[in-house]
């Protein structure tokens, strides 16, 4: 993943993304989606496809634009800032996994539609009763068929295909691609969740045919998801910070703007520091060598989770009463931040992974 696109180039990409998103993704749109079940922002998704974002980091051979991870992360940051409500991170990371580890016929079958946005891909890695990736998946892959249950799958409500983590009969960890629209697959869509636009569902597989990807690659897939999501989290956290900053400049109490009180100033400074740490850790992960990536991705994920948590909670607090209403956008970031914190394995899992990878003998 060693990758250094110049800041100027990335700034151009981000500017363009910001302009494109201004017309389609908005807090208002998300507020509507919150009261529906199993729907995402189709206008935003169409725009993402039309602008070539979905296949941007795939090779030209695979039908992509041949750009790097850094460019895709720059887009993810803007999506996070704008609360883009469709599964950009997971669908593009699943595409990336297919292109790297999938057999050619599977790529031919899935990538063109995924790049066009007419098919959504997801990753199903987590199981009941485990806060992170299970050490050994209870879901079984045997004789080309998959049996088991994955829980809280992001985009599980509307994805057409999933990359599913499973164990083979000899205990090996494998990843398989499954068509979710076929007999033997049951989706239990969450009728209500803290952010319905994420399309959470449990996926139940009963002896359904699945295609094996090459190697034990679930960690590779989750590492990339952690990095792309970290940028989405940084974008969302920044939106919270600057909204709170703007409000602190405008809202007056006791004869002065609340932003002149150190209780507010220092709180916002702490959010800023957390976001800088998350940004630094995420950028380091984009630059990391293959060997360094697992630890770098884990650090990026932990830092990004923390930054979005502090920015969305303490940023909301700056607004006082108005910040806790349905109409104010603060709860949308509060919800989204928590979703992004949980859906690829929560902080305890990644913290443990970071420690294990960083310091020999620190495995719990």
């Amino acid at each position: 993943m060693a990758d250094e696109t110049s800041d100027d180039d990335l700034a151009v990409i981000q500017d363009e993304a910001r302009r494109a998103l201004a017309g389609v993704a908005s807090p208002e749109g998300l507020r509507d989606l919150l009261i529906r079940t199993g729907e995402y922002d189709t206008a935003f998704w169409r725009t993402a496809a039309e602008l070539g974002w979905l296949g941007m980091s795939l090779s030209e051979t695979d039908g992509g634009l041949g750009m790097g991870l850094a460019e895709r992360c720059a887009i993810a940051e803007e999506i996070g800032r704008a609360l883009g409500s469709a599964p950009f991170a997971v669908s593009t990371c699943a595409m990336s996994a297919l292109s790297r580890f999938g057999p050619q016929p599977l790529k031919d079958a899935l990538l063109p539609d995924a790049i066009a946005g007419t098919t959504i891909l997801t990753v199903a890695a987590f199981e009941a009763g485990d806060a992170g990736l299970p050490l050994r998946a209870a879901t079984r892959f045997e004789g080309g068929r998959l049996t088991g249950t994955k829980v809280g799958v992001s985009a599980g409500a509307f994805a057409r295909h999933a990359l599913v983590h499973a164990a083979s009969p000899d205990g090996r960890s494998v990843v398989t691609a499954v068509d979710l629209v076929q007999p033997g697959v049951t989706r239990r869509v969450f009728a209500n969740s803290i952010d319905n636009s994420r399309g959470y569902a449990d996926l139940v597989f009963e002896n359904v045919p699945a295609v094996l990807l090459d190697g034990d690659v679930i960690a590779d897939i989750l590492d990339e998801l952690a990095v792309v999501t970290a940028f989405e989290q940084v974008g969302g956290a920044s939106a919270c910070l600057y909204a709170a900053r703007d409000y602190a400049l405008q809202r007056r109490v006791f004869g002065q703007p609340i932003g002149a009180f150190q209780a507010i100033k220092h709180g916002l400074a702490d959010i800023y520091v957390a976001i800088q740490v998350a940004t630094g850790a995420a950028r380091a992960a984009v630059r990391a060598s293959a060997a360094e990536l697992p630890a770098a991705a884990a650090a990026a994920r932990v830092a990004a989770i923390r930054a979005y948590d502090i920015a969305s909670t303490e940023g909301m607090q700056v607004f006082g009463g108005i910040g806790v209403t349905w109409e104010a956008p603060q709860h949308l970031y509060y919800r989204r931040g928590r979703c992004l914190a949980m859906e690829w394995g929560g902080e305890p899992y990644w913290r443990d992974r970071l420690l294990n990878l960083s310091i020999e003998g620190l495995a719990a």
Partner: protein
């Protein structure tokens, strides 16, 4: 910069700097090792050792890299200085005595003093024969520097200084100093300040070391009893003192200690804790301990990247942003939290202070010496104010003393 010090692919000024780095590395390999063994030396012996190393550096143009060659400097760039300091930080060298001297007073002298004064005073400082200190803070003027009270009264063509400075690093070894004083208490506080340099051996100057909580004493109180300073040793105009003081503090805003090297060596710190237990379970499995280690690892990784980018910005001739404030906020308070957690993991044995410890690797010493670093060079609270005001654009705090003549501000 990545942990292995490599800088993948960058424009040509980076290639130039890589050549500079290679030369510096080779010079250090030849010269630095014989100055690294200073265990057991008295402070005077260590200082003499340091002076000898400083002399060698000055001959090679590494002693004051950004200062003009005609004064014995290296005539180089800010980036070269950072690169050399980074390479130099691989060795444990007696260089602290000269850090302030060549970091702030000498650059500000070169900027504001006369050619004759600089020709006389800068070269011996750059060679390490003389040391300069910076007489800024006072008992009632730390974060609020402009509240300083040291009085300067003009008597003919000589200023007479009376009062006290505090927290002056290495004043006990200093031959010369730069100083800010109040020439007119009837003016508002910022307007009444003037900047001078002076001979620390002037009659009436008294230096008393202040022992810090960890036992060391590189900082001092400095008392002024009718100390006479010729008007020819005034820097800038009367009343320009605060402006020049801020300029002085900005010069070294991106010193290497800010950018690199101040993070704890977590791996080394936990090494001895792997066999420790809490209630029969490994101490390193204890959640609070793991949380503190996580924070340190994440911050180290993030700061490495943040500072790598600051370095690249400098290479492109840009001013780095507020990275310095972030680094110091995270490392000072972070070191305290990590050290405390690791002491908890070890148990009562952690209370022993072992000889020859170093705060980056010895958590007990790290804990004991953390509080001063949260205060020196901008308290954690002032750094938060700086971020809030300079980066986020929030209003200044309410300042009741604004525009009020200094001598009418209630004390």
């Amino acid at each position: 910069m990545s942990a292995d010090g490599s800088l993948a692919t960058f424009p040509s000024d980076i290639e130039d700097i890589e050549a500079y780095r290679a030369a510096a590395r080779a010079w250090l390999a030849n010269n630095a090792p014989r100055f690294t063994d200073h265990k057991g030396l008295t402070e005077a012996e260590d200082l003499a050792f340091g002076r000898a190393y400083q002399m060698l550096k000055s001959e090679a143009g590494y002693a004051a890299i950004t200062q003009p060659r005609r004064f014995g400097g290296g005539g180089g760039t800010q980036l070269q200085k950072v690169v050399f300091a980074l390479e130099e930080s691989a060795y444990d060298l007696p260089i602290n005595y000269f850090a302030i001297s060549l970091g702030q007073p000498i650059p500000i002298m070169v900027e504001y003093a006369t050619e004759e004064q600089n020709a006389r005073l800068a070269p011996p400082a750059i060679r390490g024969e003389t040391i300069w200190c910076q007489l800024f803070s006072e008992p009632a003027a730390g974060s609020d520097l402009a509240a300083l009270r040291l009085s300067a009264r003009l008597d003919g063509d000589t200023w007479v200084l009376n009062g006290q400075k505090l927290w002056t690093s290495y004043a006990q070894h200093s031959d010369w100093a730069v100083v800010i004083a109040r020439h007119d208490p009837n003016l508002p506080k910022h307007a009444g300040l003037t900047y001078f340099f002076l001979d620390m051996r002037s009659p009436g100057v008294e230096v008393r070391p202040v022992k810090l909580l960890s036992g060391g004493s590189h900082v001092n109180e400095v008392f002024f009893d009718n100390v006479r300073v010729p008007d020819s040793q005034r820097l800038g105009a009367i009343g320009d003192g605060f402006k020049i003081a801020i300029h002085t503090l900005m010069i070294e805003r991106y010193s290497v200690t800010d950018l690199w090297g101040s993070g704890p060596n977590v791996r080394q710190m936990v090494e001895g804790l792997k066999t420790c237990q809490v209630n029969g379970r490994p101490a390193l499995e204890e959640p609070a301990v793991r949380e503190a280690i996580t924070e340190a690892i994440v911050n180290n990784r993030a700061l490495t990247e943040i500072n790598r980018r600051a370095y690249l910005a400098m290479a492109e001739g840009k001013q780095p942003g507020p990275e310095g404030s972030i680094t110091k906020l995270l490392t000072a308070a972070g070191r305290l939290r990590l050290s405390r957690a690791l002491m908890n993991a070890q148990g009562p044995a952690a209370l022993e202070l072992k000889p020859g410890g170093e705060p980056r690797t010895d958590f007990t010493l790290g804990w004991l010496s953390a509080p001063p670093s949260r205060v020196a060079g901008g308290t954690d609270q002032i750094l938060r104010n700086t971020i809030a005001e300079k980066v986020l654009g929030l209003p200044q705090d309410h300042r009741p003393d604004k525009g009020v003549p200094f001598n009418q501000i209630p004390t």
